[in-house]
């Protein structure tokens, strides 16, 4: 946690870790119980099952991976957000090539949306290049001297 400034104390953290562990176990149990006890359609099952999975994974990312205290750090957020956008774009290209969209009723969608999704994916190379050039091409500033570095750390504190 050396890079986060307002993270809670270790004892609070440990309590949170146990709490998250409990949430994960509970989530798994609920998923299994719903599957065993109820007869649902594939769509309902997917929505329920994947929602629980999303909740579980959010807890893992936020607490176990300390993202809750790191999210102000633009690098991680940008890396993951842009990865997602790029990925969505790549998938858009694949679906475009396939001429089909994974829709349960298997109806064709207007090509526009698929192309738009693919173009959206171009956001990654473009923004990542800009970000990289902006942040990393300069030599690492010496903390005491570089005014820019000071500004960044001030921002974090506020």
């Amino acid at each position: 946690m050396s890079d986060s400034h307002n993270s809670p104390t270790i004892t609070t953290l440990i309590r949170m870790f146990y709490f998250v562990g409990g949430v994960l176990v509970l989530g798994t149990l609920i998923t299994v119980l719903i599957d065993v006890m109820f007869e649902t359609t594939l769509l309902t099952a997917s929505v329920i099952g994947l929602s629980i999975a999303v909740v579980k994974s959010s807890f893992v990312v936020a607490i176990f991976m300390h993202y809750k205290w790191d999210k102000k750090l633009i690098m991680i957020t940008w890396t993951m957000v842009l990865t997602f956008i790029f990925f969505a774009g790549m998938m858009g290209l694949i679906m475009w090539a396939d001429g089909d969209i994974p829709h349960l009723s298997r109806t064709e969608v207007p090509v526009f949306w698929v192309v738009a999704a693919a173009l959206f994916g171009l956001a990654l190379p473009a923004s990542f290049t800009i970000l990289t050039v902006k942040l990393l091409s300069e030599p690492a500033p010496v903390e005491a001297v570089a005014p820019k570095a000071k500004r960044v750390s001030k921002k974090k504190k506020s």
């Binding site: 050396s2 798994t28 299994v32 007869e39 579980k56 176990f64 000071k150 960044v152």
Partner: protein, 433 residues
Amino acid sequence: MEIPYTVKPRPDTGLYNGKLGVWLFLASEVMLFGALFSSYVLLRVGAEPGTWSMGLMDITVGAGNTMVLIASSMFVVLAWACLKQGDLAGYRKWKLATLACAALFLMVKWSYEWPTKFKHHDVWFKDPSVLHAAIEDGYGPEALHQGHNEAHTAGEENKAHSNDEYGWTAAQEYLHGNNDWEYPNRKATYAGRFFKRTGPESAKAYEKGLKGGTLALSGHITAYQEMQIDVTVSAWNTDGDSSEAASEKVLADLKVTDPADVRTNGKTVIEKTDYKNAMQAKHRLEQAGFTVELSENGYNEIKETAWFWRTPRANELIDGKPRVDSFTFELDNTHEEDGSHRKLTIKTIDVKRLSAYEPKHSTFFGIYYTITGLHAAHVFGGIIIMIYNLLPIGLLMWRKDRERFANRIETFGLFWHFVDLVWIFLFPILYIL
């Protein structure tokens, strides 16, 4: 060369370099697994109804392994928390617990879950009538009447319930079909293989598969009639590369008395041997310039559970006769009075395709083994790193720079949580949906 910013965050990124590196690595991992998840979705959505083998997974094992991974994920942050408090003994304790969980996860997968599938076979027949007869024999009214079948022993009132449970009442109303072998429990048995939720659509797909003979029977091969082979030498190629002495030595090695006579006149050199011996002998003899013939000399019943059989294993012909004449097939979802499964004898000549639940079995198993295999490889990699971090060589860093070692464990934790995260999504899509 000293690596900069291993402990203090780099001012512009706000992170120590190792952490940024791991997050970038995780971004690439998101791409890798994301592509496979998408492949799963595309393959599944594109599959014909009734060809996606859901319902074959053991949900107990899946849920158990999920719990194990969750526990390991929690232990790894606790190990890190101990380091932050300067408690090396606590770190060791939690790290060992993480390691144990990871090892347990892989052991369940590699020594139980996958091998169980490799022993489980599906068999498709060339002629629909053979399938119909086999189903009649395994699940038909006769089998029901004898009180051998699950649905019957459950009692009449429960039987009605179990029909509804599988949605067959609705399905039958939909179909209005009344052909001779429409028995609800059999349908239910088969529907479970491909349809997590049954209904009119699955009933139709079932009917189609049944009538067209494309439906597979599932079960275990527990015994088979394997050919006993005679190896006969008929002629010797005098122009060949092998000298008389060398080829006679080959015969002598096979314990043939009077090799010189056999070389000129020919003889059955090995009697009633198994396939492997016969093939090895054939290869050696042919190398020595002999013309070799293999012929059938009876069949031997081998009582063992077959692993990983594919079509050629059942359909191979030797001297125009099947290497395996027939096999005993213990059907799934059947129970005899003594608790064993109902056994059918299947002639290999009727078999069109035979496959264990291996990647080649179907698209479902193809993507299943690809994703879970890649995930298991990640768990395995994690185990190696955890062992390193527990060994004295890894702990040198702790003596040198405590903060840096704690950061190292934190970055490993990030990777480990990601592996857990992938499983959190894998569990519902592979075992539940």
